[in-house]
Symmetry: C2
Subunit: 266 residues, 2 copies
């Protein structure tokens, strides 16, 4: 048994209210006794930017920017690893990114590879590898929201030895919570989806309604905990990382050794 | 709109009673007004063979054997395409196979690539490509039962232009019906799973309980119909094949063009 205390924070960010949104996270996180906590996508700003100029006004460099600094302080003070989504700027390029920090400092970042719908007007598609970080007790892979729709994302993280997939999200479609069960079953990994709740309507049209239902799923496809559709909350569960390192679903079937690479088309 | 009338037959085969099991299929199929019908895995024999010798006694060559002949007659008489699972023999090799036949004759076969648990004592793993067959109104890919667990199977069929995945099965684990929804969402294909019901206990240990729940799922992840867990039945639904040929989930996201092959590991 290799127990990791891991969970998520599900929040309702107010658009553009970075200081308030960070304070809310700090308040919720203070109550967590955890090794790894996942925060939503774009947790400091909210989701629905009106144009690139607005993104640029909020985007930060990683790790030099203030949000990464805020997370580094929290991680050190609370002795926790954190994965959190934020808008990143590098020169003129803008990315929908996630950062991972631990008690010892900055670990790395990921830029969302599969950007969704109007995000194509706001962000560049990610140009970094799908990353796996060793936090000591576990290896943590990162993907962001819509990356779930492409099975190769979680598959690549698992083949690169991720035990846990940290999955910051701002979900508006209904399918992801159930599909993440499939992602765990097909890869025998844990997945922690940290979603947000609430509504946004900053451009004409239907308001965006975020579905919440942040969750922790185990390698057997059990939903260890699923949050509400509409409330802020913090949850930690104890997970046994050894489960994710055993890719046998029975004594005869090993999920990776049984793959038929000779028949697959990439 | 390109409408295909497609469905499944869910049966409870009696082990080894090939003639009776075929007659039951013929009776159910006679009532179907369909272009494509999918039958369960190993529909003529039942599932739990005790050893290779027993498989060999029932296995047939494809297309020369009597079961393919029976299916060819049905397909011609009822003017329907059929996908059905049976034990295949080629020389000394035994395969858990599926055959596809149409009103015009034999179309082809597939040998289960990912064999499950005790099947490893009975069958060789498949040595044929993951196949897609053109039946005029639609392109039909075939996979068998446990192939569902490997996302590359359905992905490969979809990348090779399958509109519909015909999925003969003998399911004993609970996860597949829900996972097939994910398979349809990630590939924008239809999937028809034809499962069996009932129990078998031909070797010591827990009896095998088959879960039924044969189903038709559309490219948006809607379960158009799901059968019971315990009864025989036949179901046909009208599906619009054009839905599977549009890989856009919104005007900005195309499920295949948005794939990031540069980042994936096979």
């Amino acid at each position: 048994m290799k127990i990791l205390k891991a969970g998520f924070i599900q929040t309702e960010p107010e658009f553009g209210q970075v200081a308030n949104n960070c304070q809310r996270v700090a308040d919720l996180l203070e109550k967590a006794d955890a090794d790894l906590m996942v925060l939503p996508e774009l947790f400091t700003t909210g989701y629905q930017f009106t144009d690139r100029e607005e993104v640029a006004a909020f985007a930060e460099t990683i790790p030099e920017g203030p949000t990464t600094g805020f997370l580094l302080d929290l991680a050190r003070d609370l002795s926790v690893n954190l994965v959190a989504g934020l808008a990143e700027r590098e020169g003129d390029a803008l990315y929908n990114s996630a950062v991972i920090v631990g008690p010892g400092g900055y670990l790395g970042k990921y830029r969302k590879a599969h950007i969704f719908d109007a995000e194509k007007d706001l962000f560049e598609p990610g140009n970094l590898p799908l990353p796996v970080f060793d936090i000591g007790k576990a290896r943590v892979g990162i993907m962001i929201c819509f990356d779930w729709r492409f099975p190769e994302t979680a598959r690549t993280l698992a083949l690169n030895d991720a035990d846990v997939i940290a999955h910051p999200a701002n979900l508006v479609l209904p399918h992801c919570p159930s599909a993440m069960v499939t992602r765990c079953l097909e890869n025998r990994v844990f997945a922690i989806t940290a979603d947000r709740v609430g509504r946004e309507q900053r451009v004409p049209g239907e308001p965006l309604k975020f579905i919440g239902q942040s969750q922790v799923v185990d390698p057997d496809g059990n939903i260890l905990y699923r949050a509400s559709t509409d409330g802020e909350e913090m949850k930690v569960v104890a997970i046994d990382i050894d489960l994710a390192r055993n890719k046998n679903i029975n004594p005869r079937n090993h999920l990776f050794q049984d793959r038929r690479e000779d028949l697959y088309r990439l």
